[in-house]
């Protein structure tokens, strides 16, 4: 099992629910990080019209992004959540992607990773099964059974 990737999943949840969005940003692709802000910011945007307007502009306006990060960070920390993460398996998907299967408080989940500049990053868009050549399939199988 890829230890770096497994620890990234746990780090993701720890950072998220402590409101440390900078750490979340560091371990994700840019587009995925935007999606985190949009999905976890949903509750706030339903309660706060100003936040909703700022959230809609995070990709084009730096000050809106900073305002959203500040409010959401405080809101996430106030949730007092610390889910139990149990890593089950890491599957290769081609040579540049991996999928982690895990449970969050007992519920089955998946996170997809892609490799960029030598680093594995969480990438919500990387779940598409990548067609593999015969030789890369064999290679991935060998890698998956290695301790």
């Amino acid at each position: 099992m890829n230890e770096a990737i497994s620890s990234s999943v746990k780090h993701y949840y720890t950072s998220l629910y402590s409101g440390d969005l900078q750490s979340v940003k560091d371990i994700m692709t840019e587009r995925s990080y935007i999606m985190v802000l949009e999905s976890y910011g949903l509750k706030l945007s339903l309660e706060d019209p100003t936040f909703k307007i700022q959230l809609a502009k995070i990709e084009d306006d730096e000050s809106s992004l900073l305002a959203v990060e500040k409010k959401l960070s405080a809101e996430l920390a106030s949730r007092n959540e610390s889910p139990q993460i149990n890593i089950l398996e890491v599957h290769p998907n081609g040579t540049e992607r991996q999928t982690v299967e895990y449970t969050e408080d007992g519920k089955a989940k998946k996170l997809h990773f892609s490799k960029a500049n030598g680093h594995w990053k969480i990438n919500y868009y990387a779940g598409r099964p990548v067609p593999q050549s015969y030789f890369s399939s064999i290679k991935n199988w060998i890698v998956s059974i290695l301790p």
């Binding site: 995925s32 999606m35 985190v36 949009e38 999905s39 976890y40 949903l42 509750k43 945007s45 339903l46 809609a56 989940k109 998946k110 996170l111 997809h112 919500y124 868009y125 990387a126 779940g127 598409r128 099964p129 990548v130 067609p131």
Partner: protein, 193 residues
């Protein structure tokens, strides 16, 4: 599951929706599906990022349908959910056709399993939207507006920033047109409450 079985399941799903009383309601964006079907331009080779986007949009359309199915069951007297979930099924079909055209493997997505997603962030959105929508009919209709605005924003991004080929753009423009119609329907329904 082979293709014909999957198609039969989809027909089964649609039939079930028709039996539940949605048949009398006009499909607000049936044109989106019809126009999408005409897009048969020569298949261009897409980049990995473009293929990922197609895969994602397909699942995002499923998110809309699944939330409307669940909220529609909570508020059976509000027909807007029933009519739009049928239309969303057609959106899923259009997005699925694009994926199949570009040979994207959809085997990890169980389209018939309502509320289950391969992408964690969509799972999170589904859970939050349903939970928030369960507060009241007004809250549920507001969630409909949120979903349609999200769909419109993501489709616009895919159209404007991803340099997709013409056939994909045509389908996405039709889906977006459908989402604008859905948005208007939710706004009208919300004003009635």
């Amino acid at each position: 599951m082979n293709k014909s079985t999957k198609q039969n399941n989809r027909r089964g799903f649609l039939s079930k929706m028709l039996v539940t009383g949605a048949s009398s309601i006009a499909l607000l964006s049936s044109s989106a599906y019809a126009k999408g079907r005409k897009s048969v331009a020569t298949t261009t080779k897409l980049t990995e990022e473009q293929l990922d986007e197609l895969y994602f949009i397909y699942q995002e359309e499923k998110l809309a349908r699944d939330v409307y199915i669940t909220l529609g069951e909570m508020y059976p007297s509000e027909n807007t959910f029933a009519s739009i979930q049928l239309s969303e099924q057609r959106h899923i079909d259009s997005a699925q056709e694009l994926c199949e055209k570009y040979k994207i493997d959809l085997s990890r997505v169980n389209e018939d399993e309502v509320g289950n997603f391969d992408i964690d962030v969509l799972q999170k959105l589904y859970t939050t939207l349903v939970a928030e929508g369960s507060d009241s009919l007004t809250a549920a209709l507001e969630k409909g507006i949120f979903i349609e605005e999200l769909d419109i924003a993501d489709l616009t991004k895919a159209i404007d920033k991803m340099e997709m080929p013409d056939d994909v753009v045509r389908v996405y423009e039709n889906l977006r047109e459908g989402s604008y119609n859905h948005l208007e329907s939710f706004q009208v329904a919300l004003a009635r409450v």
